[in-house]
């Protein structure tokens, strides 16, 4: 029996991707769950497993193809035709059954039938009834309103299927305009009466899209390029999706956020010996105690002390959003480009836990095993270029975050203390922050706090969570 292997949903945020690798050949015998192709989405490269085993008949995609959820990747000749298909049928049936039940349930909830209106001018009813009816109507209306709200919420949660797509209130001419501008009308918020989408709504959405605020349709626009070949040979290479995403994000951040970068230096002498003392323990746990691990731990603590660094700016509602979780992103340099996996709940983890997790995340990033989900939801990024060199740099904040900590190479420096110069290991820190919600003094205090904490690393024990608080 010939079966089609289709591209599954890669993640909630990514519907399309580019085929970067084909891992099997026609005629190959593959097993269920065996990876068949690699697909690169916005920020991740994912290997796609087959949901059927068997002999590969035809590979229907090529490297460089844009594929979307549901695209047939290849066909396989399965040995036992029945099993899996039967199961799927069953699943489908069950799904349908639930859908019907739901529908019926909804039907029952439906407000009482609209009373027929009598179209005769003579007919009158007693005024008392009017009041009664109005009361009733009010209640009915409220209920209706509620039901509607729920329905809307459900609609918002569910992926946009055909039915909900038909709801978009926009005139045919406006829908055509959207198509011509490459705008997904279903993404546009209507400002007209009854949330109707106007031509202006579509145009301003398109403008935002180009400026990198809305969608990810195109690379940020640039001035026209000269013909470089006038001055010598050139070659061209397609920009990868990861590079595109980086271009978008940095452009957006750079344009929107008034950046200031604050520099400071931390005395690492005590931290160094602390790391030396505990290296074995962390290694035994499967990690490596690095300055990054230590810094992530300390940043987690600092974010508790300075919650504004763990916040986002909601300009539309003129509010600051404080996040009660501390997820820290780690900038990882990979062959594909810059990836930022997220270390979740860093504020509650011990240094050992953090070190082990960082080792794991970095490995995954380099092996392209990160799902797009693993790179979402960060509050603050630590980017360490110390391994390569440099004295300081000015990192770009990852919008909608508000700050990022850059770490450069630690160096032995003569430090003047007690009338003497002493050789000390000094770590340069660069904190870029969003001046719209963070002032220079706050940033200086934040960085100082980190420098001071690096002098007393033993306050943050290796194992227990929630330490450093007492």
């Amino acid at each position: 029996m010939i079966k089609e292997i289709k591209l599954p949903e890669i993640s909630e945020s990514a519907e399309t991707g580019t085929v970067t690798e084909i891992l099997v050949e026609e005629g190959d015998q593959i097993e269920e769950e065996q990876s068949v192709i690699a697909v690169e989405t916005d920020k991740a490269s994912v290997e796609i497993p087959a949901d059927e085993g068997g002999e590969v008949q035809e590979i229907k995609v090529a490297i460089g193809d844009e594929v979307e959820t549901g695209t047939v990747i290849l066909t396989v000749e399965t040995e036992a035709g029945e099993g899996k298909a039967g199961k799927e049928e069953e699943k489908k049936e069950k799904k349908e059954a639930t859908a019907t039940e739901e529908k019926e349930a909804q039907k029952e909830e439906k407000a009482p039938e609209e009373e027929e209106e009598t179209a005769t001018a003579e007919k009158e009813e007693a005024p008392e009834e009017e009041e009664e009816k109005t009361e009733k109507e009010k209640v009915a209306e409220e209920e209706e309103e509620e039901a509607l709200e729920t329905a809307r919420e459900e609609a918002a949660a569910a992926p946009p299927d055909e039915a909900s797509k038909e709801e978009v209130p926009a005139a045919p001419s406006v829908r055509r305009l959207a198509r011509e501008l490459g705008v997904d009308i279903y993404e546009v918020e209507g400002t007209g009466p009854g949330d109707r989408i106007t031509a202006d709504d579509v145009k301003s959405y398109a403008r935002e899209m180009i400026q990198g605020k809305g969608g990810e349709a195109a690379l940020p626009e640039e001035a026209e390029l000269p013909d470089f070949s006038e001055w010598g040979a050139v070659s061209r290479e397609k920009i990868s999706n990861i590079r595109k995403a980086t271009a978008h994000k940095t452009t957006r951040s750079w344009r929107q956020i008034p950046h200031v970068t604050h520099f400071d230096e931390a005395d690492l002498s005590l931290a160094e010996s602390f790391m030396k003392d505990n290296a074995g323990e962390v290694e035994a746990a499967g990690g490596k105690l690095t300055i990054t691990a230590l810094l992530v731990k300390l940043v987690g603590e600092a974010l508790k002390q300075f919650p504004v660094f763990n916040a986002s700016l909601d300009l539309k509602n003129e509010e600051i959003i404080y996040k009660e979780y501390i997820h820290i992103g780690l900038a990882v340099d990979t062959d594909q480009g810059l990836l930022v996996p997220i270390l979740r709940d860093a504020g509650q983890k011990s240094i050992t836990e953090i070190a082990v997790e960082i080792t794991d995340l970095a490995e995954k990033a380099r092996n392209q095993e990160l799902s797009p989900e693993a790179m979402r939801g960060g509050n603050f990024i630590v980017t360490n270029l110390g391994g390569i060199g440099g004295t300081n740099f000015t990192p770009i904040i990852y919008h909608p975050q508000v700050a990022i900590l850059g770490v450069s190479r630690a160096q032995k420096k003569p430090v003047y203390s007690d009338a003497n110069f002493e050789p000390r290991t000094v770590l340069p820190l660069s904190l870029s922050y969003d001046h719209r919600i963070i002032d220079g003094a706050t940033a200086a205090r934040f960085t100082r706090w980190l420098c001071e904490a690096l002098k007393t690393p033993c306050r943050y024990s290796m194992k227990n969570s929630n330490d450093g608080k007492e």
Partner: protein, 472 residues
Amino acid sequence: MMAKNEKKEVVVIGAGPGGYAAAFMAADLGLDTTLIDPEAQPGGVCLYRGCIPSKALLHVAKLKREALEADAFGLDFSRPEIDLDKIRSWKDEVVEKLTGGLKQLSKRRKIKYIRGMAAFKDAHTLEVEKHDGEKEELSFQHAILATGSRPMSLPGINTGSGQILFSDDALDIESIPETLLIVGGGYIGLEMGTVYAALGAKISIVEMTQGFLPGTDRDLVKVFAKGNEELFEEQWFETTVTDIEESDEQVRVTFENPEGEQEERTFDKVLLAVGRKPLTGNIGLDHTGVTLDDKGFVKVNAQRQTEEPSIYAIGDITGEPLLAHKATHEGRVAAEAIAGKKTAYEPRAIPAVVYTDPEIAWCGLTETQAEEQGKQVKITRFRWSASGRAATIGGSTGLTKLIIDPGSDRILGVGIAGKQAGDLISEAVLAVEMAALASDLSLTIHPHPTLSETLMEAAEAYYGHPTHIFKR
């Protein structure tokens, strides 16, 4: 002999309202276009055997009825006499005039019209058997498939002789049977019933479901039923036809009611109006990547492109509703898509009209669909008994209803039953397409006295203050 031609840019197969609209649009967009159809002139079922001839005959029926009813207004005519040959030739003239006009329009656009039948050899080649028997191979870059549909028969029933008719035969009005059974209470059954009753036949009608026009809002159907209590000699619902047997000049029909009881009756003729099915056979689809859905319709995307990228499909073969105006719109979309325009078929409302007297028309969401979907809607109705215009034309039984989204006041659908409902619905279609709110309709001044005011007043009723209704 086989002649091989150079590659055509666009070949449209089928010259019905979908096909010719597609061809015209393609030509207007600068594409070299070929149109293939078995008829001498473009028009298809719609012009030759559907919309147009039926409306011509329905107009005759309406005139007769109005002439008879005019005595109530003090205008007495002698009983109208039917001259069948003259009616037929008038109808044929109408058809000839319109299809001839299309041929002219086609020529002016420099479209190559081939009279014949085409079948795919592969995704870029057609074999055309011309009307004169000559065969030709035609290669193309893009094809638009618009072969339409044909009337469905009943399972296990032979329709060999002339006593069992389909809508196309019935429109030829060869003769007027004394008794005619119409199988199917959908719009074709009702329209043909209206025509044949006016021409003097005694009509019986049998419908499988509980009432006329399955799927249509019952309150609209009720307006038709009330106005046509004497149209049918007999009407059976929830009744199926299990057997039809032709014998000398007569047809014996066996019915089965919901209780399983059978009954036999005899009629002069039987008209089968049980639906239409897409014409997807004998056109070589198996030589292409074109696929069908489980109902037998061709699968297409929003650009009306089939799963074979070089082939587009439009009209009845792509699915419900099987209506000419839907096909026309699809045809234009397909042509635009081929010309590289960013276009899509995404109607919010496709109007449906039943040309009975009174007419029934609706568009967008119906009350029945809202119920099925469990969707919260608010329905407001305006009965024509409060319309001045309706009173002046004896049309006070009519009804206009709006289906409104209570959250936004947006008009989601409209239903109208009454005289000229088919013309009135257009404003409603525009309202739904424009995502108009009930207030857009109620605040728009409508001419007085017209039936169009009923739309405005139905919208006023939504806000509780219709001028011509007093409601507490």
